[in-house]
Symmetry: C2
Subunit: 437 residues, 2 copies
Amino acid sequence: MSSTMTDELKATLDPQRKSWIERANDAQCDFAIQNLPFGVFSDTGNGNARVGAAIGDLVADLAVLHEAGLLRLPASAPQDVFARPALNDFISLGRDVWRSVRVQLSSLLARETPTLRDDAALRQRAFVKLADAKLHLPVQIPGYTDFYSSKEHAMNVGAMFRDPKNALLPNWSEMPIGYNGRASSVVVSGTPVRRPNGQLKLPDQERPVFGACRKLDIELETGFIVGRGNALGEPIACEDAENHIFGIVLLNDWSARDIQQWEYVPLGPFNSKGFATTISPWVVTLDALEPFRVAQPAQEPQPLEYLRHRGDHAFDIALEVTMRPEGATDATTIARTNFRHMYWTMAQQLAHHTVAGCNTRVGDLMGSGTISGPTPDSFGSLLELTWNGKNPLELKSGGTRAFIEDGDELTLAGWCQGDGYRVGFGACTGKILPALK
Amino acid sequence: MSSTMTDELKATLDPQRKSWIERANDAQCDFAIQNLPFGVFSDTGNGNARVGAAIGDLVADLAVLHEAGLLRLPASAPQDVFARPALNDFISLGRDVWRSVRVQLSSLLARETPTLRDDAALRQRAFVKLADAKLHLPVQIPGYTDFYSSKEHAMNVGAMFRDPKNALLPNWSEMPIGYNGRASSVVVSGTPVRRPNGQLKLPDQERPVFGACRKLDIELETGFIVGRGNALGEPIACEDAENHIFGIVLLNDWSARDIQQWEYVPLGPFNSKGFATTISPWVVTLDALEPFRVAQPAQEPQPLEYLRHRGDHAFDIALEVTMRPEGATDATTIARTNFRHMYWTMAQQLAHHTVAGCNTRVGDLMGSGTISGPTPDSFGSLLELTWNGKNPLELKSGGTRAFIEDGDELTLAGWCQGDGYRVGFGACTGKILPALK
């Protein structure tokens, strides 16, 4: 556990701590009192998007709690940060403030604390049912970068599209390969996604045709949110990088494989990825993930010095993907894997991103890249799960899938399973609408 | 000339119109009364960054002119848009408003209009000498995309790094290839640029080494600024695309060729480009460029339907690059070319960018890609000018250059030469600082 944690902060992670919001104490509930992820929500009673924290089946309205004097901010901070429609200004107050708010919230929601528990009138104003809340994009995202840090994924793709004998390109083992994604089209879970049109190069035709994507896919990823930026020309050291991370979301990097294959040489994916990226609405803080820190896979060759860090920098986050066709009652789990398989760590990604001098800003989103495990049922994309459509998946509700069809709803889920409690991410879901004619 | 132009707007383009600011009437001055580019500036008298227009050797302070009642905005508009530190809110008011402000400014500055000309006290407050102004990034840039639309450049790079016989990849002739760049590191002309460090793969070593870039380069580009965005899932038609463009800047896409060559497969350039991109401070509006509209090069094969537009969509903009080593008096012109050589038009770039559904936002920056002409002295990068260092350039001040050395100052210039007047962009310059140790 990080030595920079105070005793108060460590207490927020105590597996024994329970909440007076009973649903939070369910070992399968994503939002235990040990979690306290931050997000932005509105509801029919108050249409203003504002900052909340998820707890059990409720959203705590931090603006209300602050106004009521139950959450304190430093006197120097703008006192309306919880009333703003994105987390950026709150995050910009710095880690000491996030941590102080976490400590205060945890104490306020703990079973033995009567302040809010026994104040029915305030409780009424301070909570909205998760089921009734409209969840918004949690941060305004100045920049979105996507990495490619799962060795299994890179090898699968390399084997399929290049050469099975040399599936991994030589640079892959030396650096966390990444590219700039399109920030404007990052949407929050629940936003429908329209199937993209684009240029498709069919094998039997000399020229491309224009039409709807036929190989629409997901990419199961997480993404971290930058909590402290760096100035242009001032790289972030690998050992310091986690101090620049606010928290993590689930991320579905929707991908049009046929558009991608035709367009991506030599400058990388563009329209095949830029039409939508879905993230989960709750940002799980790095603090909440601390008990689930584990060793990253061994790295061979040893990375260059700027990519080295001591200690454990992977996190044990169970991940799964489900698919539910239009009208079906049953969703089919199509993949199960774990974030701990990632070869390059978030710290290494951030150190690499900035080593040439690139600046980052609060709210920047950095995708992990598709997270594929070692077994065929742990791959993080349909491309890999069906081996480019050759082995269609059987669905519980009947039928098969090579790639995504119109009306299909894809959902990512992720959680850390503690002893009797869960630090979960909530759903990251999107349903596919037919392409524009 | 665009049929949507009113007579008033056409009058702003009249080559006969002169200004009472005499410097503007010099046929070699970038900022004729026919130009009136918008930017953001501050000065020692007023440290607040605010909106200005360049005219002759002066900056007109639009906030002052508006307060004085000489520039009107629609009653529904926020009346302080000119006092804001970026053009975005002004641009967001829409093309009718930009055009109205252009018409009012042109009239106010015309030789025969006494209002401001004869009001010495107001003139004193309403202008700052360009030489005394601090110029800021003109727009807050939500997204930066860089295209690759010069056929000559693509063929030169393809011949050098792939196969001279198949220099152009098959997708290049079918679409304006582009990629997402890093918006955070776009800086305004005059900002020093630190030589990046990164992974270099030397031919005689098995593993990469970490060190300062040895092949630092420029890319001579223009960039257009989006003036009207589009919603997610709602593509911009090619015929309508120019209605979404506010104006154009010069753009230097600094590139670390050695870092690029090692990192770019398969997801495109990342650290080799993300350390800095310099743009010129004045946004020349598409309206001011209208008289310089020319036919684009013939496109063979005929593009797919979504990339077709009638009429002329290229612009005759002379471009040049100069290099001045540290301490040298003389700068050497190292390249001369013209924007009209570009194969893909800005309209086609924007139509392609959005065809899969990607949304754009006001202030988005879209780089043209390196602009190389057909002759060896018209190439837009040192990579091409020196053929990857094989043919170093002779400098006027003595010495030679294969790539950029520390202390070198690189300047892009661009202008449309009218009959007795110039619509120019001002300088886009940057000096290289040594790499961090």
